[in-house]
């Protein structure tokens, strides 16, 4: 108990009971601490209404740290406590700082994830204009190429030869779009490719791209078809039809708030 002998018994406002060695903090000190805390709370509320850019966060966290210091020093009595207890509590903040710095530096060197925001909540594809999307257009090819570069090229390669860096370790290998149509698991007609994009290919690295909007999937279909040559074989046309119907039936519902894990990993890997 000797560690606060220099303080003990000083400025005690009451009848001085208490354990020998226990520092009695005067009651006005507690009340003043509360007043300071309330003032700081008002200040932090006020700061949040002023736009200071990055300094809002700095200001608010600074005030919070100040408030926390007041609570620890006076309410928790650390000002009068021994160094061991102080070291304990400081060590927790130190460990926390390590956690934040290490995680932040990891995040810092990665590219920021692409925004997952969808352009419009509702699909543009309806029963009436479905045939237009099935037929394709030069604009769709353009947007299909962009989507392909963003989502598919990692594994299927920029030219669609199934030679992307991300696909090297995959077994089976990613589809080579220039290979003979007969070797495609689901075929290479529009509806078959649509089905592959919608459901993915079970047992392979090919994920489902349900999270894309239907019009974006159709754009991809046409771009992938432009990469494939020769005859068209539709092994999954019926399934494609079923997918399209299912999707039209649920059109207008809330968009899926999540993206498939594989896609997320792909995007982070980019």
């Amino acid at each position: 108990m000797g560690n606060n002998h220099d303080k003990h018994g000083s400025h005690d406002d009451n009848h001085g009971g208490g354990l020998h060695g226990h520092h009695l903090i005067p009651i006005p000190v507690y009340v003043k601490t509360l007043l300071a805390l309330v003032v700081l709370t008002v200040l932090t509320m006020w700061i949040s209404t002023v736009d200071l850019g990055k300094f809002n966060i700095v200001g608010n966290l600074g005030i919070a740290s100040l408030k926390a210091s007041l609570v620890m020093a006076f309410f928790m009595g650390l000002k009068y406590d021994n160094n061991l207890n102080r070291a304990f509590i400081l060590s927790s903040f130190g460990a926390l700082a390590i956690l934040v710095v290490m995680s932040a530096s990891d995040l810092w060197v990665r590219p920021k994830p692409l925004p997952v925001a969808v352009k419009s909540a509702k699909s543009l594809v309806t029963k009436e204009n479905l045939s237009k999307f099935e037929a394709g257009s030069p604009e769709m090819l353009d947007s299909g190429k962009k989507l392909y570069d963003m989502n598919c090229a990692v594994c299927h390669g920029a030219g669609g030869k199934g030679d992307g860096a991300g696909g090297v370790a995959l077994n089976p290998k990613p589809r080579n779009f220039s290979a003979d149509a007969g070797t495609w698991t689901f075929g290479n007609t529009a509806k078959s490719i649509y089905h592959t994009l919608y459901m993915g290919s079970p047992g392979t690295g090919m994920a489902s791209y349900k999270s894309l909007l239907p019009e974006d999937r159709w754009a991809l279909v046409h771009y992938v078809m432009s990469l494939s040559s020769g005859n068209k074989v539709g092994k999954a046309d019926d399934k494609g039809n079923a997918d399209i119907e299912l999707e039209l039936a649920s059109a207008g519902g809330p968009p899926k708030p999540s993206i498939p894990i594989d896609l997320a990993i792909d995007r982070v890997a980019q």
Binding site: L19, L34, L37, F75, F88, S91, A121, P254
Partner: protein, 216 residues
């Protein structure tokens, strides 16, 4: 310290009641360190995701009622004062005052939980649930992964709320014991330790409030 061997006012494996008090307090601080680590991880994760999705966090945090948050901040600060005063009074052998201070602390904790109840039910009313149960199409249309923010909100305020509830039980237990005559100016370790716990609950809210309700 001279009279500490007259009768057993401390456990037999301690030299004195002071020794017991200091050992207990060190243990309490160690526990508080683990509490800081628990909430610290939430804060770190929250901060890093805020860095990744600043617009989404800005949009989402406007759903929170900062006046309710501010009210709860002040309520918790007052309860922290009364908790500290309760210890100050028992250190001065003023048991009745100490009891009243504990009672006010308990009432403040109750007010905090009632405000929290209204905040939560309002969120549920809007279809704002954590994680996959999130069901507010308008918000999802703007930011498909906006549920992320509310998952943090529910986990952080929920874990904190559970701590408040546990604190209420602890304070009630201390009041029961004080009423029984367990504590005096020499012997008040349990009051002090519950006080430390209660202050850390306040401390966490001091950071939680600006980070979740105000910042962005």
């Amino acid at each position: 310290m001279s009279d500490s061997h007259q009768h057993a006012d401390h456990a037999h494996h301690f030299n004195s009641i002071e020794h017991e008090f200091e050992a207990g307090k060190l243990g309490m601080w160690l526990f508080l360190v683990t509490e800081i680590m628990l909430f610290g991880v939430f804060f770190a994760g929250y901060g890093l995701y805020m860095y990744l999705y600043p617009e989404m966090f800005r949009e989402a945090h406007h759903e929170l009622n900062k006046w309710m948050g501010a009210l709860n901040t002040v309520v918790l600060l007052i309860s922290s004062l009364t908790m500290a005063l309760s210890i100050a009074y028992i250190q001065r052998d003023q048991k009745t005052k100490s009891m009243w201070m504990l009672f006010i602390t308990l009432v403040c904790a109750g007010i905090f939980m009632v405000v929290k109840y209204f905040e939560y039910t309002h969120k549920f009313h809007l279809g704002i649930y954590p994680g996959q149960y999130f069901n507010n199409p308008e918000m999802s249309a703007k930011f498909p992964n906006i549920a992320l923010f509310f998952s943090f909100y529910f986990v952080m305020t929920g874990t904190h709320g559970i701590h408040v509830l546990i604190g209420m039980f602890a304070i009630a237990w201390i009041m029961f014991r004080m009423n029984r005559g367990d504590f005096n100016s020499r012997k008040f370790a349990a009051v002090e330790f519950v006080g430390l716990y209660w202050h850390i609950v306040d401390l966490i809210w001091i950071f939680l409030f600006p980070m979740v309700y105000l910042v962005v």
